[in-house]
Symmetry: C2
Subunit: 413 residues, 2 copies
């Protein structure tokens, strides 16, 4: 993509009302725009990152058998009354012109449970794993953390349905592994910890995936021996020690919840009378699990975990582009060499942002490139032209390397 | 994809409250599920079609320079008061816990105009073309036409911003061509006509793209000489004749509006004081156009245009799969041949739905295949096995051909 053609621009300053690093950097770099507290637009560069994250999640959930669907935002009141959640304080409610009441989905148990029930009669129809990547709404009182806490946000929500608890348990472990792969691919592997959290009324504990960062709104107690986190909300219940090894030297860390998984068991299937016939022809209640990841929050967390004073530092797999090609100087030779490299990289299938702009100094271009945070910077200038080379610099390193133009193909593969 | 693994099932009967052919067929085949009037879930097979349509639209809009963004559903009241549309009868309004008022987006001029204004100062920053593929909400009184009229629906909305009317006019013509390509690729080319419609207060006429089908809620007067449609709402204004050639022998046809394009000119840019500096340094108002296609409506229209008494008939480019491979018989030989063909087709990159189910008769499998409507049916049975062949049948034809297994690769390429 040619930088001259992107309609957004780098802003000199972050908006004054944005306190979080993720929002400051993403807004300044033109990745997102804030419409109001907790409600953001994704602009071209931000949407590229968003879609990379989306595809990573889709691949890993497909790998564990997930079948993708797309459920509605607008829900009828009756289904939420049935589960007793119609008055949930974070749910938006509204009426149409005929005074019929609806809610905006903030989770989808009320929709997916009766839907899957339609298609399941026998144990032969189980298990079922369905997920969607879809817009959710929560009436949050505080939304001051940029993409970390949205009133409107896209979520991957997976729901699993099983013949018995054993099968639920075994799928639950598969989801754990898939989640770690997702966070690893998003560059959060080493900072993200499985964390015990309150399970609600239906299970003793659920599991969260918590990423350690100073921007976190959560607090976990981390056992350095087991790499297990214990959410602050249950640490007293666990007598301030690690439930795995008994270790009492736990480290308190601020963290962001990037994913959570719940064994719902029969909590919703019972309400919707979702039964199946087992091998003996006996009717039994279906067991259920649910598994969420917020995509915007994940994107915000990546920025919180990977930045420096100059800007964002995108991990390879979620970077909007692999290479930021920068042309310095206005001579025809420099221009035609830069154009040629731009075309060649594209032919090789390498995603490249090409800073072809004429009205910017080298200093401005480098500062903007650092803010945008593409993994590899490649500079073509009079100086490099004379040496038949381009300058290469990784965003994570200070060292600049000269690479001969003829060596570029093998260097990049 | 293995048919045995899809969690949905073919339903014996269409729901009694569904009057439209598109909803009856799509629900029976497990492509969509109705949550309530005008609100549908997309299930795995339906989502495959939906994404094909989405990708066609994305490709064609990218080809005319569109930059993709993702704008919010939840809008602040102030922006809609500014344009005088806060009280629009089809807009859903709601309040949060703090009694702040919001609306759900049914179009996005109020959001995109101030957004783009942020990044445009000079004529050098124009034109700008931004679009999104995103969820919209309308408080419809009647929603009885399946996917044709949704209360919640995904729309591609493109907005263009120009330095002058001439530039707007020339882009408007480019969009027309892109739209015809989209409808052509979706299998609606020959039935879809550019149609003059009311332009509102800001232009004499806008243009609609109307697809002729008995299920249409619109009525157009079609000039067989010019292939131009005239919407019923303006036919009197045009004195019951074709404005292009004066022809008075117009054909009245029922039709579905699958797209519309508007020259908004300065209608919204004026309200938001969206100006730019021209070459002489003079401030001028930006000119604007908007261009919509509803994805669900398009999918419903394709079904209305392509079906027979046995079911749906998907056009090649939007079919959920290219090949429906059906195994008839339980012998090991038949099973292993079918499995091999399934693997080979996938290796060749051919999308295939493999009916590997054991508990269905040949008759049931064929009836379900006809309902689902994949373009090419391929049958492996004891009979074909003996002839080293598979049976091929196009969904659009009655003829069955025997193809030697060794000839399959070249036949399919």
């Amino acid at each position: 993509m040619r930088q001259s053609e992107i309609f957004t621009k780098i802003l000199r300053e972050a908006p004054k009302d944005e306190l979080s690093i993720n929002a400051q950097l993403l807004i300044r770099a033109g990745f997102v725009d804030k419409l109001m507290a907790g409600v953001y637009s994704y602009l071209p560069l931000g949407l590229l990152v968003f879609k990379k994250i989306e595809n990573i999640i889709r691949e890993e959930i497909n790998n564990i058998g997930g079948q993708e669907v797309l459920l509605p935002v607008l829900h009828p009141k009756a289904l939420w009354e049935k589960t007793g959640r119609w008055q949930h304080e974070e749910m938006f409610r509204l009426k149409n012109r005929e005074e019929k009441e609806f809610s905006l989905g903030w989770t989808h148990e009320e929709i997916v449970t009766p839907l899957v029930k339609n298609f399941v009669n026998s144990y032969k129809d189980l298990p079922v794993y369905v997920y969607q990547i879809q817009d959710k709404f929560r009436d949050e009182l505080r939304s001051k953390s940029g993409l970390l806490r949205g009133r409107e946000f896209v979520m991957k929500d997976l729901y699993s349905f099983h013949a018995d608890e054993k099968d639920l348990d075994s799928y639950y472990e598969k989801v754990k592994i898939a989640y770690f792969k997702i966070f690893e691919r998003c560059g959060l592997g080493k900072d993200t910890f499985l964390t015990l959290a309150s399970g609600g009324t239906f299970s003793k504990y659920s599991h969260e995936f918590q990423t350690i960062t100073p921007a976190g709104e959560d607090e976990i107690y981390l056992c350095p021996k087991c790499n297990l986190g214990i959410n602050k909300e249950i640490i007293q219940e666990e007598k301030n020690q690690c439930p795995e090894c008994g270790n009492k030297k736990l480290e308190i860390r601020k963290s962001i919840e990037v994913g959570n998984i719940f064994k719902l068991k029969d909590k919703y299937t019972k309400v919707f009378d979702f039964k199946f016939k087992d091998k003996e022809g006996q009717e039994k209640i279906v067991m259920m699990g649910c598994y969420g990841i917020g995509l915007g929050r994940l994107m915000g967390t990546i920025v919180e975990a990977h930045n420096d004073t100059r800007g964002m530092i995108w991990p390879e797999e979620v970077a909007p582009f692999k290479v930021h090609l920068i042309k310095i100087g206005e001579s025809l030779e420099v221009k035609s060499l830069a154009e040629k490299i731009y075309q060649d990289l594209q032919k090789q299938g390498i995603e490249v942002l090409y800073d072809d702009r004429e009205n910017k100094t080298a200093g401005e271009k480098f500062a903007e490139a650092d803010l945008i945070g593409i993994p590899l910077r490649m500079v073509v200038s009079e100086k490099t032209l004379k040496l038949d080379s381009v300058e290469m610099k990784k965003r994570t390193e200070e060292e600049i390397k000269l690479i001969k133009i003829n060596d570029l193909p093998q260097f990049l593969n």
